[in-house]
Every structure is written in C-alpha cells, then in structure tokens.
C-alpha cells in the first residue's frame, strides 16, 4: 500500500485550558481531496496550523510526504502550498509582485508568474495593486500564491468563502486540477455542498474531535433513507408520497408514479452532508 501524503496520528493542541484539537487522526493519499468539515471554532484551523508548521502539536505525531512535521518543517514547506482564510496579501504590491516575492522565498530562479495569473483570470490586472482588487480577485490571487511551487500537498482554508458563483466555480476547478496532477489536498470548509462536490472523503470535526471520516457517498448512503419522494398534482391539490426501495412492489410503484400525468417531481431520499453532520454533532455548521 502506498505511503499516504499526510498522516496525522493522535495530535492534540490546547490554548491554555481550552482544548482546540483532541486526539485527531487521519491520513490523506496522494491525489486525494479531503474535506475537513466543521463549524467555526471546531478545531479546523488549529489542525491546519499544525499541519503547515505554524503550531507544534502538544501530543501525537504527523508526517507529511514521509517526513516528520515539525522536525523536517523546512523540507516539507518547500513542497507545500497554503491558502489562508485571511486575505494576507501585500496590498501595496501588485498581484504580479506578490507572486514574484513568494517565488523568491521558495528559491525559484527566474520565476515567471504570468501563467499562474492567467490560470486564475488575473493576467489583465497583474500590475494593479492588490489593494485595488475585489474580494474575489484577492481570493484568486491567494489561490495562485499557494500554487507557486507546484505543491505536492495543498492546504486550503475556506477558499471560496463569500465568493460569487463564478469565482467559486473557477477556484473549485483549480482544486480539482491540482488533485488530478497528484497533489494531496486538505480542504477546510463549512460549505457542505462544496465539500460534497469536491472531496473524495470528508472528515466531520466538532469540539476538537473527528466524529466521522468517509466518502460523501458512503456517508449519505449510510445515513439516508432508501426511497424516493414523489410530488404529484391530484385535482387542485399537490400530494407527496415516499416510496421505499425496500418494498416488494417498489418497482411497480415507481413505474406508476412516472406514468401519472400529474407527476411534478421525483427525488431520491438520501441525506445531505449537513443532515448527517447534525446527526453526529447535534448542531449545525453555523
């Protein structure tokens, strides 16, 4: 079995008496996108800070690309890309200057940022100061910055938070492309739909502990009902019925519903990730 790109084993971190992350374990394979889901204050960002070397775990161990974190931090960070939730750009510098500066920090000789700027649709505004960028443009520049060194592991903290649908779509496309290239991606979000669309697996985290870790499909199958919900017009009224797929005559009932001239909609009854999270955590994501 191939060595995972990231392995986290029983890590813990507390800010004084407040335990932010408690005995968290998971791993991420090469080319996999792991969605890290949880409400604000659940411990997502602290876990991310430990994985990126900004905080040292107080217990447990972590390896990234087979190297010890934080022991081999410098070597790991050379192959790591991080997109923070805060837009921590140098606002007085242009988009191009921001990327060139970080290219120098990664030791990239003759780094040319134009291709990256085209990829995030900022090429036409490359010489404008980042201070003059819109929120979406700054976020795209943040994503571009995280890709400067063609990272083998990519950490993205709420990369589409508050963005318009077009910008969100563009960033999701880039994340998928990076995973296809072979990067292990850890995506921190509280957007269940985004996690569902992008992630190969999702981890639910709440109050510093991982509650569940599986593929979205498996979680939905395990926690949803095997059935379809049918809405049909009957005279002036709208009737809603649920057909159980476990019933002996389920096929006949579905065929009859489809043949009904009053049929309006027919949907599967699988649970959403949000429903499942609430089932585990007893609370929603907000």
């Amino acid at each position: 079995m191939a060595e995972p790109a990231i392995r986290v084993d029983g890590v813990r971190y507390a800010y004084g008496d407040i335990v932010a992350v408690d005995d968290v374990s998971f791993d991420v394979a090469v080319g996999e996108i792991l969605g890290f889901l949880g409400p604000n204050g659940a411990g997502k960002s602290t876990t991310l800070k430990m994985m990126t070397g900004l905080l040292d775990p107080q217990a447990g161990s972590m390896t990234v690309l087979g190297r010890d974190m934080p022991g081999d931090k410098e070597e790991i960070q050379q192959q790591m890309g991080v997109c923070f939730e805060e837009k921590n750009l140098y606002l007085d510098m242009s988009g191009r200057e921001n990327l060139i500066f970080f290219g120098q920090l990664f030791g990239l000789k003759n780094f040319e940022p134009d291709d990256l700027l085209r990829r995030v649709n900022l090429f036409d505004r490359r010489d404008d100061r980042a201070a003059d960028y819109s929120k979406g443009m700054r976020q795209r520049l943040m994503v571009a910055r995280s890709l400067i060194n063609a990272p083998t592991v990519l950490f993205l903290d709420e990369p589409t938070d508050g963005l318009d649908p077009v910008s969100s779509q563009a960033i999701r496309r880039i994340i998928s492309e990076e995973a296809d290239r072979g990067a292990a991606v850890v995506l921190t979000t509280h957007d269940m739909l985004e996690a569902d669309k992008l992630s190969d697996r999702v981890a639910f985290i709440n109050e510093g502990r991982i509650l569940a870790l599986d593929s979205p499909e498996s979680l939905k199958l395990a926690h949803g009902q095997r059935g379809v919900r049918v809405r049909a017009r009957k005279g002036d009224a709208v009737e809603e019925t649920v057909i159980s797929l476990d019933a002996a005559d389920a096929g006949d009932q579905i065929r009859a519903a489809v043949a009904d001239e009053g049929l309006m909609t027919i949907h599967t009854e699988e649970a959403t990730l949000e429903d499942i999270f609430i089932e585990y955590a007893g609370r929603g994501l907000e």
């Binding site: 070397g53 510098m93 200057e97 970080f102």
Partner: protein, 363 residues
Amino acid sequence: MAAVNRIGAIVRKDFKAFTRDRFYFFMTILGLVFYVAIYWFLPDSVDETIEVGVHGSVFAEALGGVTEAESQGMRVVVFDSPEAVEAAVAGEGETTVAMGFSFPDNFLEAAAAGEVTTVSVYVTGDLPPQLRSTMTGMVREIAFAAAGSELPVTLLAEEEIILGEDRAGNQVSLQQNMGPLLIFFILMVETFALAGLVASEIQSRTVTAVLITPVRMSEFLTAKSIFGTLLAFSQAVLLAILIGMLGTSTVALLITLLLGSLLVTGLGLVAGSSGKDFMGILFWSMLFMVPLMVPAIAALFPGTAAGWVAILPSFGLIEAIVRTTAYNESLVDILPYLAMLGAWCVVAFGAGLFALRRKVATL
C-alpha cells in the same frame, strides 16, 4: 546561501514597501530637510562678551574706558541714572545690558570710613545664580579695596588655572550643540517607520504567509533587523554629512551612528510588535522617545542634567556624538560610551526580538 537569498528578498520587499508608504517616506524626507534647515539657521558662534551697565560718578568714569575688561569678555556701558540702568537691564531702554550696578555718589567716602552704604545690582530673572553671586561679590571686593584693605588672599603667579581644554574664545555654539539632538530625532523617526512596517506585517498577517514558506523565523527577524538598521543608519549618516558633522573623527562617529541605529531598530521592533494600530505605535514610540530625549536636551544645555541621565540608553549615543563632533575625541576616548551604548543595543534588540517572536507565535 538559500537563507541569504530569502533574507535579501524580504529586505528588498520592505524597502519597496517603505518607499511606497507615502506617510513614512514623506516624514523621512521632510524630517531630513527640516533638521538640516534648523541646523544651518542656528548661530554657529558664541558672543562671549557680557555687557554691564554702571551708574555712579567715580566708577563710571573709571570703568567706562577700560579696554582690558572688554578684552576679557566684559563691556561696560555708563548710564547717568539708576533708572536708566534698570531700564537697560529690563530691555526697555535704547541700550540693553545683561546686568547693572548703581553706586551712590558717596560710595568711596562711605566705604573708606567704614560706613554702611547701599549699591544696587540689577539682573534679569534668567541670569544664572552663579553669575548673580559673582556680581555681588565683586561689589563687596570694590568696597573692601576702597576702604584701604588688602585682600586676605595670595594669588599664584598665573592668573588662572584651566582644567581641561581652554574653551575661552572657542565655545561650543548652539548649532554644534544641536547636532546630537537632530541625529537623535532622525533616528527616532526611523524607529517609527520600522515600527509601522512591522505592525502592518502583523496586522495583515502576511507574516504567517511568509512563515509557511521555507523562511525560518530567525531569517524573518534578521531581515527586519537589517532593514531597520540600514534605514536608520543611512538617514543618520546622510544628516551628519549635510550638517557637516562627519568631517572629524569620522570612524568614531560612524561606529557611534551604527550602534545608535541598532538601538533604535530594537526599540522599533518592540513598538511594532506591541502597537496594534497607528495610535498604538505612536504610543509606544513616544513612550521610548521622551526619556531617551533627555540626554540630547542635556547636550543642548550643558550642565543642566542630573547624574541619573547616564543610565538612559541614549546617553552613550549622545555623549559619544558630542565628544567626537564638538571636542574631536578619538575612538579610544569614547570607548566607554560606546560600550554603554553597545550594552543597551543588546538589551533593546533582545526585547525587540522577544516581543516580535511572541507576537507572531500568537497569530
């Protein structure tokens, strides 16, 4: 080598940010122009002649034409009434004098007969007390001599014994005294600029973006220290050149300015790490600036400082500048002051690096 390149990249970025920050850049240029203008506007020589007004028939005639007294730094102006002397001392008459005497007409006779008589001494409120007592002592001496007595003191063959360099006729001018204060001010302006850059890096959290690259915390701190020191040192040297202070004891002065730049860089790191916004930086910078300014003010008005001033971090800096520029002392002569300054540099830098490291860790 990679670390050197990374440090270089951060220093270049900081320099770019500094030149683009219109406020700090403008303050630096304006400060430089302003300080140079002030310096050259101040008088570069000292008028050592004291003008004394006298009323009294016998002494007025005797003193009025004394050229010897004038050559020793005193010019006597004769007035025809006590009121005229008083007005001249008060600055209300046509002629102005620093102090005045009014001898009664029967002064010589009364003094010779051993009778009590009164001499009025007029001085302004700002005359140093030492000079006041000298003047009254002089009147007593004249009365003593008029009574026919010899002074019970045997003077040495030499007229006076000078301890140290005789500055008579070569006093340090207000302009020269102002130099250290201006150097201190320009260094403090750069403290403020560095603090602003550090604070903005913390506030915008760009520091965390830098620290998840291969850049180590020690490299980041080194880059900030190099930039702050270069900024302060270059400004101080430029000012020293423009006000003509770099001509004598050049090496000693350059070393002094370099240590001074290190001192203010350490303070800038503390202010930048501690101040959350512009007002915070202003607060911390002023907190350092006010006590540190005391030795510079003391240099402007020699003899006014109490002994405790020597424990202030800027004392070594100011004293070394004064001694190299006003008294042409060599590097060896100012070593004790450089040692004091160096020790304070270590303290300030230690505090600055500690504050910045602690701040970054809590982001």
